[in-house]
Every structure is written in structure tokens, then in C-alpha cells.
């Protein structure tokens, strides 16, 4: 019994030593989130960060890991948003269900697009995805009978879970945050699985991958489906958060924004999509005070960051981490020389 406690304590100490940074970080995070959630505005920003992170994470799996470029994510985002909005508003489907139907329909379109896309390379793939995004935009903007055309859809129902209505940005945060974490965990599991390794193999050299017996087309389609699901999910979450959607949200600028977030954060990393989504969202809000100059400053900032950190902000952190480790190793050897 006594020995057991000691063991637990030792285990605890080891766990603490190993993960103290994460634990501190999570604690700080929780406090920060709690503080931010007290005002609606900051809560809204958090909501947006979570929603964008979901979409960008999907794009990272497609582009970062599998090497398939997509400039049409706004198309999937739109399909998710419109499907969920229409189902819940016109057919009375509970939003919590319609959100996933929206994401699934986006996945279906992802697979449809993926069939030709899996055979295309380079710029032809860019064009296919640009064309897809543009076609979805034109459709929702033109088909007034179904989508309300340029006027969009108003009065999209609020999400409620077990009778609990998530009407405010604060309460909505819990939904989007949980889904974001689930998406991130799924991403981590995919990456560490056979599928993830196949993705990377496809990215690195599709011919070699095929030679090793990997069904390249299958994995490309899979990556497209996953990214479409994530974008559709994000779109549906967006629709029920703002409760008004119109085609202006689903232009190529939105696709470019997802791409910018991903590249800004850093591709093919766990943290890149989160950092990218958060940094770009916070940055655009901070630049509001520069009024008409904000887009210019935004673009110049991106260029500067690009030149300082050619591989996204994640590059900076890995450098920092390496530096910290070096210093730590210099200091530590006398006390505990255990190599990492």
C-alpha cells in the first residue's frame, strides 16, 4: 500500500517532469479561455479560430501530408453550410444532426471531385479545385429557389444539445472547441497510422509509393474526402454560429484564406493549422484600427513573416525548441545526463 503510493508519487513526479510544460500550458490555456469567454467579442473570436482550425486541419491532411493542392476548400465549406442551414431551417432536422449531414454531403462531393483529381497533377489539380470552388459559388449565388441566391438564408436555427440551447458565442465555444479537439486527435491518429504514412509516401514520391504497393489513387481520394469533411463541418458550424449565410462568404478569397492560414502556420505539423488559424484571425482583428490600410499591412506582414520564417511560424518554434534543448543540455549534463 505504502509502496504503491510511493510508486504513484514517483510516477507522478516523472510524469510532471516529462510533461510539465504541457501541463503549465494547458493550465494557462484554460485560464485564458475562461477569461476570454467572459466577453462575447473574444468568445466569438475563439469560436472563429476553432472553426477555421477545423477547416485548415483538413486542408493540411490533403495538402500538407498528401501533397494535393486545393484552392477550392470554400466550395466544401459552402456545401456544409448550406446543407445544414437548409435541412435545419426548412425540414426541421435538429441542427446537431444536420451539421454532420452537411459535412457528409461535403465528403460526398469531395469523393466525386477526387476521382478526376486523383489522376491530375500540379497545376491541373489547382485548376480543378479552383473550378470546383467557383462552380459552387456560382451555383449558390444563382440558384435562388434553393439557396436564396445572393440574399442568402436568414434565421438559421440555433444548435441545441439535449435541450440545452447554444445560442450565445460563449456556449457555442464548447461545441466548436470539442469538435476541434476531436478533429485534431483524429488527425494525429491518422498521421500515426498506416494511412498517414501512405499519405506521406504519396506526397514524397507517388511513383515510388505505387511501386511499394500503395494504392495511390485510393489514398488521394481518402485525403480529399477527409479534407472535404473537415471543411464541410467547419462550414456547417459557421452557419449555425452566425445564423445567416450568403454567397459572399464562400468566394475564392475564403479558399485563399484557408491556404494562407495553413502556410502561415506551417504545413504537415500538428500545431501549424491551429497557429495559422489563430494568428491570421487575431491579426485581421488587430489590423482593424488601420482602416483602409489594413489589407496592405496584412499582406506586408505575411511577406515579412515569410522571409523571416520561410517555412511558416512552426519553423520558428522548432528552431526555438532546438535552441532551448541546446541550452538545457549545456546546463544539465552535471546533474542528470539522461539523453532524451
Amino acid at each position: 500500500m505504502n509502496q504503491n503510493t510511493v510508486l504513484t508519487q514517483q510516477k507522478g513526479a516523472a510524469f510532471w517532469k516529462k510533461n510539465r510544460l504541457s501541463i503549465i500550458a494547458i493550465a494557462v490555456l484554460c485560464v485564458a479561455a475562461a477569461v476570454m469567454l467572459r466577453t462575447r467579442y473574444l468568445a466569438m473570436i475563439l469560436d472563429f479560430i476553432c472553426i477555421y482550425t477545423i477547416a485548415v486541419t483538413g486542408l493540411d491532411l490533403l495538402f500538407g501530408y498528401t501533397g494535393q493542392v486545393s484552392f477550392g476548400q470554400a466550395g466544401f465549406y459552402a456545401i456544409g453550410a448550406y446543407t445544414s442551414a437548409l435541412l435545419s431551417k426548412n425540414l426541421g432536422v435538429p441542427p446537431i444532426l444536420s451539421i454532420f449531414i452537411g459535412a457528409l454531403l461535403a465528403t460526398v462531393f469531395g469523393v466525386i471531385i477526387a476521382f478526376p483529381a486523383s489522376k491530375l497533377v500540379k497545376h491541373f489539380l489547382s485548376l480543378l479545385t479552383i473550378a470546383f470552388g467557383l462552380m459552387v459559388y456560382t451555383f449558390v449565388n444563382s440558384c435562388s429557389a434553393l439557396t436564396g441566391g445572393p440574399s442568402g438564408i436568414t434565421g438559421i436555427p440555433k444548435v441545441s444539445i439535449f435541450g440545452l440551447e447554444l445560442g450565445s458565442y460563449q456556449s457555442y465555444f464548447w461545441l466548436v472547441a470539442i469538435l476541434m479537439v476531436l478533429v485534431l486527435i483524429t488527425k494525429k491518429n491518422i498521421i500515426n497510422s498506416r494511412v498517414g504514412r501512405a499519405f506521406i509516401a504519396v506526397r514524397e514520391n507517388p511513383h515510388a509509393a505505387a511501386g511499394m504497393g500503395i494504392n495511390v489513387a485510393k489514398y488521394k481520394i481518402m485525403a480529399f474526402a477527409i479534407s472535404a469533411f473537415a471543411a464541410g463541418l467547419a462550414g456547417a458550424l459557421y452557419a449555425h454560429m452566425i445564423r445567416f449565410i450568403s454567397p459572399d462568404t464562400f468566394t475564392k478569397d475564403q479558399s485563399n484564406m484557408f491556404m494562407t492560414m495553413l502556410l502561415f502556420g506551417g504545413i504537415a505539423t500538428m500545431s501549424g493549422s491551429v497557429i495559422g488559424a489563430a494568428a491570421i484571425t487575431v491579426m485581421t482583428e488587430l489590423l482593424q484600427q488601420f482602416a483602409a490600410y489594413q489589407t496592405l499591412i496584412y499582406a506586408v506582414l505575411i511577406l515579412i513573416v515569410l522571409f523571416l520564417l520561410p517555412n511558416g511560424t512552426v519553423g520558428l518554434f522548432s528552431k526555438l525548441k532546438a535552441a532551448v534543448r541546446k541550452r538545457g543540455q549545456k546546463r544539465k549534463p552535471g546533474k542528470e545526463g539522461t539523453p532524451q
Binding site: 497545376h123 491541373f124 473550378a131 451555383f139 444563382s142 511577406l303
Partner: protein, 287 residues
């Protein structure tokens, strides 16, 4: 019908001009620029400044625009892209770089010239009667200049030493530099030529479209679409692809639905890509 064809030819040759730029950049450096449309816009603004504000003759204005736009494109490659790649950035980050450049160009233009639509005075202020349809001479000029520059580029690439060097460098960088070809130079020139072509397109479009900061956004995207359909990296493909898209657009708007024009035009492009996997002109689309 004839107006439809002329409209399609004019729009198509603009796509072709801008599209050739994408092809050049890709051939020379394997990269992709998303700022071509904004180069067109800057070219139009510059042309307007020289021609309307400074009252320079049109030919001189066009020449100045060509020189400036060439320099801008060349500097973009030499200063930004090269050093970005030298810093160990992955190639995809060049895309982000050009997205940012595109925003910078649009905003700089907005502060330099204002955000309203400006009038570019007509270059040839008369109309021609073609088989019973009146056509503005300026629209025909677009077509003529478009064809002229395509031919010029063709001769430059095929008949001049530097053009041959560029083609050689595009085919095999290592071999080319072993032969004493200045490969970085050919890349810079390719980017310069690309932005010059876009600038020329901007100047000749000005009188028909007016000049405003967003004028290049969609043209850039469609020119890219045309270039890809034609066979990316193939100069002649870009022209054919651009013209093809011009025709598809005009005829879709007339015979199917102007509202769904883009929907059908891009739908057709996708179908073409699937069934003609090499583009209209040969270029590997699929693996």
C-alpha cells in the same frame, strides 16, 4: 453572331496573353504566380498615367509600360522569389508569397490612383463596319496586339539566342548551366516577360473596360484556367486554351444561361481535362 465571335476572340486573346505568362513562369522555374491578374491591373494604371495624364503618344506609353512591367516581374523573381527559395522555403510558399504580392499590388494601386473606376481614353476612336456589324476599333486592337505579341514571343523564343537559352534552361537546368547558360537570368527574364505580357494586356484592355483595382482578379484566374486547359507550360497551348475559354464563355452566356456562365464554362473545362488528359496541347496532366 459575329459580335459574339469578336467578343470571344477579344476576351480569348486577353486570356491568351496573360496565360502565356503563367506558362513562361512555369517552364522556366516550375513555379506558379497568383499575381498575374494584378500585374495586368498595374499595367493598365501605368498605361493610363502615361497616356492620359502625361499625354505621351500611345506607342511610347505602351513601351514604357512594357519596360516597367518587365522590371517589376524581373525584380519580383530576382529579389523575392529567389531569396525566399534560398532561405530554404518549400516551393509552395512561393504561392503564399504571390498571394501577398497580389494584395500589396492591389492596395498600392488603390492608394496611388484611388479606388474608383477611371476612364482610359480611346486609342483608336472610331468604329469599323464588319459584315454589317459595327465593331469598335479598340476591340479589334486588343485582338491585333494580342496576336502580335504572341508572334513576337514566338520569334523571341525560337529565333534568338536568348530564347534558345531559355528553352534549354527550362528543359534541363544542370545541362544548360554546364553549357554556360546563365540559368538564374533566364528565370528572371521569364518572370519579367510574364508580367510584361500581363501589363500589355492591361493597357490594351483599358479603353474597353475602364481601369480599376479589381479589374485583374478574375481575368488572372480565367487566364490561368485557359493556360492549364491548353496545356500548361506550352505557350501555344495557353493561346489556344485562352481562346477556347473565351468562346465557351461567350457562347454559354448566349445559348445556355448568362447567370450560370461560369458554372458551365468551368464545368466544360473540367470535362475537357478529364477527357483530354494532355490538355489541348500536349503536356502531362495525369500520371
Amino acid at each position: 453572331m459575329l459580335t459574339l465571335i469578336i467578343g470571344a476572340l477579344m476576351q480569348g486573346s486577353v486570356y491568351g496573353l496573360v496565360g502565356m505568362g503563367y506558362g513562361l513562369i512555369y517552364k522556366a522555374s516550375g513555379l506558379m504566380s497568383l499575381a498575374q491578374g494584378d500585374m495586368l491591373m498595374i499595367g493598365a494604371f501605368l498605361g493610363m498615367t502615361f497616356y492620359k495624364t502625361l499625354h505621351l503618344p500611345f506607342a511610347l506609353s505602351l513601351l514604357l509600360v512594357m519596360v516597367i512591367m518587365f522590371t517589376v516581374g524581373w525584380l519580383l523573381e530576382r529579389v523575392l522569389v529567389t531569396s525566399l527559395l534560398a532561405k530554404g522555403a518549400q516551393q509552395v510558399y512561393v504561392i503564399l508569397c504571390t498571394i501577398a504580392i497580389s494584395m500589396v499590388l492591389q492596395n498600392v494601386a488603390m492608394f496611388a490612383w484611388g479606388s474608383n473606376t477611371m476612364q482610359f481614353p480611346p486609342i483608336l476612336n472610331f468604329s469599323i463596319n464588319l459584315f454589317g456589324t459595327t465593331v469598335e476599333a479598340d476591340r479589334l486592337l486588343v485582338l491585333a496586339v494580342g496576336i502580335l505579341f504572341m508572334l513576337l514571343l514566338h520569334f523571341f523564343m525560337q529565333k534568338t539566342r536568348f530564347g534558345t537559352a531559355m528553352r534549354a534552361a527550362a528543359q534541363d537546368e544542370t545541362a544548360a548551366s554546364a553549357l554556360g547558360i546563365n540559368v538564374p537570368m533566364t528565370k528572371g527574364v521569364a518572370w519579367g516577360l510574364a508580367s510584361m505580357l500581363a501589363g500589355v494586356a492591361g493597357v490594351i484592355l483599358g479603353p474597353s473596360y475602364g481601369v480599376y483595382t479589381a479589374m485583374g482578379a478574375l481575368i488572372g484566374q480565367k487566364a490561368f484556367a485557359g493556360a492549364v486547359t491548353g496545356g500548361y507550360g506550352n505557350m501555344y497551348g495557353a493561346i489556344v486554351g485562352g481562346l477556347f475559354l473565351g468562346f465557351v464563355e461567350a457562347f454559354c452566356a448566349f445559348y445556355i444561361s448568362s447567370l450560370y456562365k461560369d458554372f458551365f464554362a468551368f464545368g466544360i473545362l473540367i470535362i475537357v481535362m478529364i477527357f483530354m488528359p494532355n490538355g489541348l496541347f500536349k503536356e502531362q496532366v495525369m500520371e
